[in-house]
């Protein structure tokens, strides 16, 4: 297939996943039932910080229906601690972490024990019978308190609660500040939130004599696969991922604790065990984004050119070292946003507190980095009395610079940043709104226009940029496979190397296969859920990192091309024509009409996939000599342009990700002067996702991630009390936006194909969650300009906005 002869790629082909979901026939983990299955519940810490004096299972073990109890002592005795992974690249001291708390609890909701019974209610009843004695310790809920010299230590082994400090620096930052006309500074903050997939964690473990099978709604199966393998010291492990009810980063990391606990319970009881997390458990303990605080200085010239940036980033990483630097290292993906600035220093501190550990979430790190750049662009414009759009334009990477290498080593293949801004301004009617604002009226209406990147395709060595001397790389670049098979009956089945969490991977991959093999998507299907024993997976097997568009599309395309080769070889042999005379269309291989007959003209003109299938699998007598039977191929894809920059150099330069979509966001908001409520009147996005495979699917990803970012900006988030108790245990208290608070988002596509990917595609996943918090902040600040208010922190809850008016007044 060439780019020009796509019939299905580029079309909004009907969803392959939707028919089962709208009829209630999706298959999620909790829908699966096994014979003699037990139901497990997890006992969790009621304290933010306490020593575990004792944990006694006695009474619970004898309760009605109970088959097993696991306490911290059992976990230490029967499992091996987790290895620190790439998310803890900054960890220099070994700190054992188990599936339950051991010795101490470090956040409310930390798992302490598990009980399994023959029914869910019995298991929950028995929880109350596990006797745990705690000795409470002072709860630390702010980074200031944690960093204080006399602070109680959260991990004694570390000797400090500031568990990591480090920096990356590119260009000559001091020189940039020395030649600046002035320095603009701001203290910025983003709060703790999450992505709250509607389906909480779920594990079902089936212990059979051959192996342990874990059915799990994980995004990155490698994490739970390795966790069980290592923790239990067994290699008979199979992980199966059925339908997953949303991931967004939440289901990558901490789910491994429950996978191990459920597996251990299954081993101990010899029966299948199901554990389903409930919503409040998810809110407490499934992982949050970190509270981030940035002290930023920008060295600027009076014409608005930004010469350099200095950022001191303090990340509140909660009560675990296992994801110590993940929010910091993710900033490397869009360290310079869309700007051609050459000098930047980012200092990081990861501070432990008695809050939920931090995990990946939609966009992780990148929304913070975009927030820094876009808030600073507005601050620079204010300080210099310039138009905020003009300041951005002054600093954007320009058309003639692509492919553009950022100072920290990212190679951006293509883009049109000025074009995105032009279209966003036009679509929202920027000039008219500005003019109306000048005529003056009583309404508090504001507009904000920002720009951001959507990095895609993870480099597995990225996190080691902060520790380039490490001898242990957790992998490098990316590898991912896919299998495509023409069945004996002529239909087509493919198997992807990574699971899906609702991003229409079946639909999208089928479109690729359809074009390559010339068969309509309705005759193509995915082989089922992900299965570690069957799926061809590599280091890029992850429903995260925006990996799908790069690795899985590349792999399924490659596998389909191999099958196409086999089809052409076999068909040419059977039809007695030259391969070049053949074409594939609607599941039939035939002579290209214009091709001149070059051999026997009296043979059959066409052959169907079904006929080929029957021969390829069943009739060796008709196969050409040396032809491998079957019509199946597996292909492992790597980004053809991954090197140079695959491994970090000594300065921390590394290609963090491989493709870079981009988008301009324009928000028009109105503030209610009485209540402080922000209403989003219009929200316009102009987006470059490269070549789109299914535009409606791309739209859905943009709508969803933008809605999340807007919800975060306007109030969604976690709140802790001074005692470390989580006060936002429900989605209502957490403030997740409904249809009413979410604006009707408007999208224009402005695709600029990527020069290095299979079809010119770029990522289309979490992207719109990256600039949207900044867009809302910018618009609200603009609306509050009569009060001279500066928006520096999120979330912009009605009360905070009211305070901004009130205090400025």
């Amino acid at each position: 297939m060439t780019r020009s002869d796509s019939r299905y790629v580029g079309a909004s082909v009907r969803s392959k996943e939707a028919p089962r979901h709208v009829t209630g026939r999706g298959r999620f983990v909790d829908d699966l039932v096994l014979p003699r299955m037990l139901h497990a519940f997890v006992l969790r810490s009621p304290y933010a910080h306490a020593r575990i004096v004792s944990a006694n299972a006695g009474r619970a073990a004898h309760a009605t229906g109970v088959y097993g109890v696991i306490t911290p002592d059992d976990v230490v005795r029967l499992t091996t601690p987790f290895k620190p992974g790439r998310y803890a690249a900054g960890l220099r001291v070994p700190v054992p972490e188990y599936a339950t708390a051991v010795g101490k609890v470090r956040y409310v909701g930390e798992p302490v024990a598990m009980v399994a019974a023959s029914s869910r209610p019995e298991a929950e009843d028995a929880l109350e019978l596990i006797d745990v004695e705690y000795e409470p310790l002072p709860a630390i809920v702010t980074t200031e308190a944690a960093a204080a010299p006399d602070a109680t230590l959260i991990y004694d082994e570390l000797g400090t609660n500031v568990a990591w400090q480090g920096h990356v620096s590119f260009g000559d930052v001091d020189a940039a500040f020395a030649r600046a006309d002035r320095v603009v500074s701001a203290n910025l903050g983003i709060h703790r939130y999450s992505s709250t997939p509607l389906e909480p964690f779920a594990c079902l473990v089936d212990p059979t004599p051959e192996r342990l099978t874990l059915y799990c709604n994980c995004q990155n199966p490698e994490v739970v696969y390795e966790a069980i393998t290592e923790a239990l010291g067994i290699d008979g492990v199979r992980v199966a991922v059925p339908d997953v009810g949303g991931g967004f980063g939440q289901k990558i990391h901490l789910i491994r604790k429950y996978a191990v606990l459920t597996a251990l319970m299954a081993v101990q009881t010899g029966r299948p065990v199901k554990w389903i997390e409930d919503r409040s458990e998810h809110m407490m303990a499934a992982g949050h984004s970190c509270d981030q605080e940035f002290d930023v200085e920008a060295a600027v010239r009076n014409d608005g050119e930004v010469l350099g940036l200095r950022i001191a980033d303090t990340d509140d990483v909660g009560g675990s070292v296992s994801t110590l630097t993940i929010h910091f290292t993710n900033k490397l993906n869009n360290l310079f946003n869309t700007y051609r600035v050459q000098n930047l220093r980012l200092e990081g501190r990861s501070v432990l507190t008695n809050k939920c550990p931090v995990v990946p979430n939609r966009g992780i790190g990148k929304p913070g980095m975009c927030f820094i750049w876009e808030r600073m662009m507005d601050a620079v414009a204010q300080e210099l009395g310039l138009d905020p759009i003009a300041v951005r334009r002054r600093n954007l990477v320009t058309q003639d610079q692509f492919p553009y290498t950022t100072p920290n080593g990212n190679i951006i293949g293509s883009g049109d940043y000025q074009g995105l801004l032009d279209r966003a301004l036009k679509n929202i009617g920027y000039e008219d709104i500005r003019a109306q604002q000048k005529t003056g009226n009583d309404r508090l209406i504001g507009i904000g226009v920002v720009i951001g990147l959507e990095p895609g395709g993870r480099n597995a060595a990225r996190d080691m940029a902060i520790f380039p001397k490490s001898k242990q790389m957790p992998g490098a670049g990316g590898v991912e496979g896919a299998t495509v098979k023409i069945e004996k009956n002529g239909s087509v089945v493919f198997t992807l190397g990574a699971p899906s969490c609702g991003q229409s991977h079946e639909t999208t991959a089928a479109q690729i296969v359809a074009d390559v093999l010339g068969i309509p998507p309705d005759r193509i299907s995915a082989s089922g859920g992900w299965d570690s024993s069957l799926s061809p997976w590599g280091v890029s097997c992850a429903n995260s990192g925006n990996n799908f568009h790069l690795y899985d599309i590349g792999a399924v395309h490659g596998a389909a091309m191999r099958v196409r080769e086999k089809v052409l070889t076999l068909a040419a042999h059977l039809l007695k024509v030259d391969r070049s005379a053949l074409d594939l269309r609607d599941g039939i291989v035939g002579r290209v009409p214009s091709a001149a007959p070059n051999s026997s003209a009296d043979g059959p003109a066409t052959i169907t996939f079904a006929e080929l299938g029957k021969i390829a699998y069943a009739n060796q007598a008709l196969l050409p000599e040396g032809f491998e039977g079957g019509l199946e191929a597996t292909y492992y894809h790597s980004h053809p342009h991954a090197d140079p920059g695959m491994l970090p150099d000594e300065t921390g330069r590394v290609r963090a990700q491989y493709t870079f979509g981009s988008a301009a966001h324009a928000a028009l908001v109105e503030v209610d002067p009485g209540t402080g409520r922000v209403k989003v009147l219009r929200y316009v996005i102009v987006s470059d996702n490269g070549t789109m495979i299914n535009p409606s699917v791309v739209d859905g990803q943009i709508y969803g991630s933008a809605a999340h970012g807007i919800s975060v900006a306007l109030g969604e988030g976690f709140v802790y009390g001074d005692d470390g108790q989580l006060l936002t245990l429900t989605l209502l208290d957490y403030g997740k936006s409904t249809t009413l608070e979410t604006p009707r988002i408007e999208i224009e596509h402005h695709p600029v194909p990527d020069p290095y990917t299979t079809l010119g595609q770029k990522a289309a996943g979490e992207g719109a969650a990256i600039p949207s918090p900044a867009a809302i902040a910018s618009a609200v600040e603009n609306a509050l300009s009569p009060f001279g208010a500066r928006v520096r922190r999120l979330p912009l809850t009605p009360e905070r906005v009211w305070n901004l008016m009130h205090v400025s007044r």
Partner: protein, 171 residues
Amino acid sequence: MTHSVRITVNGEAYEGDVEPRALLVQFLREQLGLTGTHVGCVVGECGACSVLVDGVLVKSCLMLAVQANGREVTTIEGLRRGGRPHPVQEAFVNGFALQCGFCTPGFVMAAHALLARNPNPTEEEIRRDLSSNLCMCTGYVQIVEAVKSVGSDPGTGRHRGQTPERGDSTP
């Protein structure tokens, strides 16, 4: 102590015993295997478990199974009619109104209930009504558009998915 109940689900009568503390959603999922009704939260704030009881939209996690005794329950599995998907189901498929699919059954039931009451709702009315259900994937845009697209049949004033009789279950 268990209670014997007779509950009609999707047109089929079910007689059996339930514990008083069993929620309607558990009864549907665990006793009848109707796993299309999902549990996304604790306290009735996500809407994923929405079903019709005697034609009225309720959250099946906020109702005891024993309370459905003698009543007719319609779940997502019972929305198909004559072996064909319901127009709301079709609209969700055609409009890409879902991603992970976990909230979808609840949204389809809520949209169906809205359209039965108000066959031609405005965007404002749709958004106000469906604020009862949460979706983390879609940003709601394509859901609202799908509901709008169902529209009404000018002849009867009914939306295309609405049946004249009460409830909408077909065996």
